[in-house]
Amino acid sequence: MKDLISNINKVFESRVRLGIMSVLMVNETYDFNGLKETLNVTDGNLASHLKALEEKGIIKVNKQFIGRKPNTSYSATEAGIAEFRQHLKALENLIKEQ
């Protein structure tokens, strides 16, 4: 039982962060507005969760210009993908155990 819990990753506890990772697992990159619309969250809320994930090295930020407009897109790092997979497995195991 202790093993099961230890794989549950605190970084992914919030719904917004779960959502961000879900999107970035199946899409190579996704931009800020796209994430905002898909997850239905406010700018500030999304930005703070993105910042936290970035600081933990789970996602990386790509800033570029499309024409003259700045465009920020996000992608999951290899480590982030591995950690999220582990987290999902732990969630599934937790359900199976009950």
Binding site: R15, L18, G19, S22, V23, M25, V26, N27, Y30, D31, G34, E37, T38, L39, L88, L91, E92, L94, I95, Q98
Partner: protein
Amino acid sequence: MKSDTKSIEDIKAIRKIMEESSRFLSLSGLSGVFIGITAIAGALVAYFFILDGSIHYNEYFRNLPAEESFSLRWQLISDAAIVLLLSVLLALFFSIKKAKRDGKNFWTPISRRLLINLLIPLFTGGVFVFILMLQNNIQLIVPCFLIFYGLALVNAGKFTFGEIFYLGILEIITGLVSAFVPGWGLIFWIFGFGILHIIYGLAMFRKYGA
């Protein structure tokens, strides 16, 4: 246990977000039916008004003086262009309506990806057909339309309903077969762009609604 139901809900939410963020699910099946009807109408216009009731347009063209053949080619290409334009408008109209009904956005990163992946083979095919037209290479035009359209659908299939992939395969097969049977382009056009779209549209409408 409380954490148990939470985990189940989490996993459900994750699955839903993965699906919605990677596939454009507002593509309207109903628009397929109308696109099919438009394609058949376009073929009938070509048959009755441009080709004067001749299915075998290769021979028809061969027997025409150069000047008249040139003007006919432009009439045919305008007919096809109008069908294409109407089809695009129908697909957009019904899909925007479907997205609105489901409370979803139409213009998302994934619909943009879908569009780019659709347009690259489609644009290539359009330019290629235009070149064939200029060279008076009439008999390969319908096969090319069908093949490039099929390739576009196969390419776009990753970003929307998986059924689009199979529709694409069928269009490619139709195009290849029609290349073997020169002169029956109108019939293959009606089958590939008309009948296949209508069947696809009805099937999607029954399965997913709208």
